[in-house]
Point group: C2
Chain length 368, copies 2
């Protein structure tokens, strides 16, 4: 009974924290609230103008309340199929060698509203993608200290967040294949854009799995467990699975190749002459190879110029100086291809839970 | 040479008239210009609030210049496979018995931008549909006076507008099956909303084929010809044909069943409580039977109340008093069914030229 009462007290505190966050989000007015409880909010279109998304306009994705973990005393249990289970204090992590990676994180349900019929789930319209510089300790360093036993097939990472789902009291937990967990690019992140990670974004400790949709990057990390069998928890097998008609379910993993327009704004009026069209493109599988911009219907297209240097896990900026052939409305579409040969489809592949919507985007422009 | 010079002079005058219309449209700022030459402009969303669309916000659709026909001296040649060919003066038409019908006219390419990939053609976003009260003489009365010969299979109606297409110098011409041409609901219209038809809308004489997409309602009618073989002109066989992959081409005719939201506006912020959701629905095949509003993803829906009386060829208003279950973003979708059992598809059936796009529409609403 005491334990259950503790759980209730904790969940009540988390929901209170979540409500406080909602109030702040509403007051600041910089994010678009998608759901209030749990709190989910997406970035406005203007946030895409920054290569590194400022924290104030980074999308918020929660499944339950927002835990308030102590930034000093928080501990992570490391155990399961390991040689040396141990308790990892945040202070210890701070003392270990760190690396920084610039990572684009997209919610698996981003652009869900582009699917017809609309699948259940948060109706993200396209603002559930952001990029940050994350600094942290490779998960592999922690796993090496613990020593994975030969029978380990997956590593389960659990967040401090929990609540009620259709299967009862559920904690946010996700497993990674053991080989992926040992990938030195998978970070136990302590900082976002050079500052301690805010609670709303998973602070003080968040897993970052670069290239994968956001569900893999567990927030509020509180335990790490080596498993000798595949994890079958709610967020692994009931959610974050592609269920397409007539096909066996597939786990959601790498972000699918996608490109979006940044400017002009939709239905913008621009002067006849050279128009600077800008956008972003990313893929979890490989660097972006090219972005084609189709101009009007009927097959005419131009290739955008990729800007800056390719970073392995971040979106790529692109630009096209477009000279409209005549005044009037033009509809542009952008289509990215990655170096693995993945191409954005004209329409997203519908699936029951609405993940991985990466259909080609359109932009109407009124040329005067 | 003299004839060709006449043609050039006329076309030059029509293009001049078209440019003058463009200037007026731009100055008034009430329509959204889709293309300047030829002039095509669509209604703003707010125009849907009126059951009868005011002339100033009725969509404009032209293929060439806008002819300036004399409202007194204009004549129509009636001939071909008829017993008594004759020349019909406008004054004579004005003296014949008239009837009035309220007719919703939608461009076959309306909502073309909802198709992926985007087909060639004007990128109409949804404002190419309007309703007016038309008054005129049934085409059948004119055909009865001429006397269709038994071998007549189609009636060809030609507009005064012409220009260059991929098949050379082309006049705007469309045929109707003889039985359809004799349908007493098909009008040679002289008035729109109680006033002489403006030149931009086909005045002084326009055919109205209720229930069919707008291409059948030939503007600037200048000749009527009974045919003993099927017409194979450009606008009959090269345009206004459904070309779907793997299926034989089909002529575009009746408007497909469709429903749209009128209010709230997209991404509107509404207060928690009862929300009045309003819209319009129409079908060229049969009266609207019902409009279902789905609420969020996952299959929950409510049935809208159909308002007013059903008019056979006009859109039907509908309304739903919706009580959102919680704050946050909600995505509504409206889906109409007509009395012939036609149901809007979740996504439009793609075809090469982008006609008949009647996929279910979505509306995101932010409930506070």
């Amino acid at each position: 009974m005491a334990v259950q009462s503790d759980v209730l007290t904790r969940q009540s505190a988390e929901l209170e924290s979540s409500r406080a966050h909602l109030t702040r989000v509403r007051r600041q007015g910089r994010l678009l609230v998608v759901s209030e409880a749990p709190l989910n909010a997406e970035a406005p279109r203007s946030a895409l103008r920054s290569y590194l998304t400022p924290a104030a306009v980074r999308f918020l994705r929660t499944n339950f309340g927002i835990p308030s973990l102590d930034t000093v005393s928080h501990q992570v249990q490391v155990g399961g199929a390991v040689e040396r289970p141990f308790t990892l204090r945040l202070a210890e992590l701070h003392g270990m060698p760190r690396r920084a990676l610039t990572i684009t994180t997209e919610c698996a349900g981003n652009h869900r509203t582009s699917m017809a019929p609309l699948p259940a789930g948060e109706p993200w319209q396209g603002g559930a993608v952001s990029t940050a510089s994350w600094s942290g300790v490779p998960l592999s360093a922690v796993l090496e200290r613990a020593g994975l036993r030969p029978g380990c097939v997956e590593v389960l990472v659990s967040g401090a967040d929990a609540g009620t789902t259709t299967v009862g009291e559920t904690r946010y937990q996700r497993s990674l294949p053991a080989a992926k967990a040992m990938d030195p690019d998978v970070l136990l992140a302590l900082e976002m854009n050079g500052k301690p990670i805010a609670a709303a974004h998973g602070g003080p400790l968040r897993l970052l799995v670069p290239g994968w949709y956001g569900m893999a990057s567990v927030k509020w990390v509180s335990s790490i467990e080596a498993l000798e069998a595949n994890f079958e928890g709610y967020f692994q097998t009931q959610r974050y699975v592609y269920r397409e008609p007539g096909a066996p379910p597939q786990p959601v993993a790498e972000m699918r190749v996608k490109s979006v327009f940044v400017s002009p704004a939709p239905s913008a009026r621009v002067r006849m002459g050279a128009v600077r069209v800008r956008g972003l493109a990313w893929s979890g599988s490989a660097p972006i190879a090219k972005v084609k911009i189709s101009i009007g219907g009927g097959g005419e297209f131009a290739e955008a110029r990729l800007l800056g240097r390719a970073e392995p896990f971040a979106w790529r900026r692109w630009e096209l100086i477009w000279r409209p052939p005549h005044c009037g409305r033009h509809v542009l579409r952008c289509c990215a291809t990655d170096q693995a040969g993945n191409v954005q489809p004209d329409a997203p592949a519908w699936n029951e839970l609405g993940y991985g919507a990466n259909g080609v985007q359109s932009l109407a422009v009124d040329v005067r």
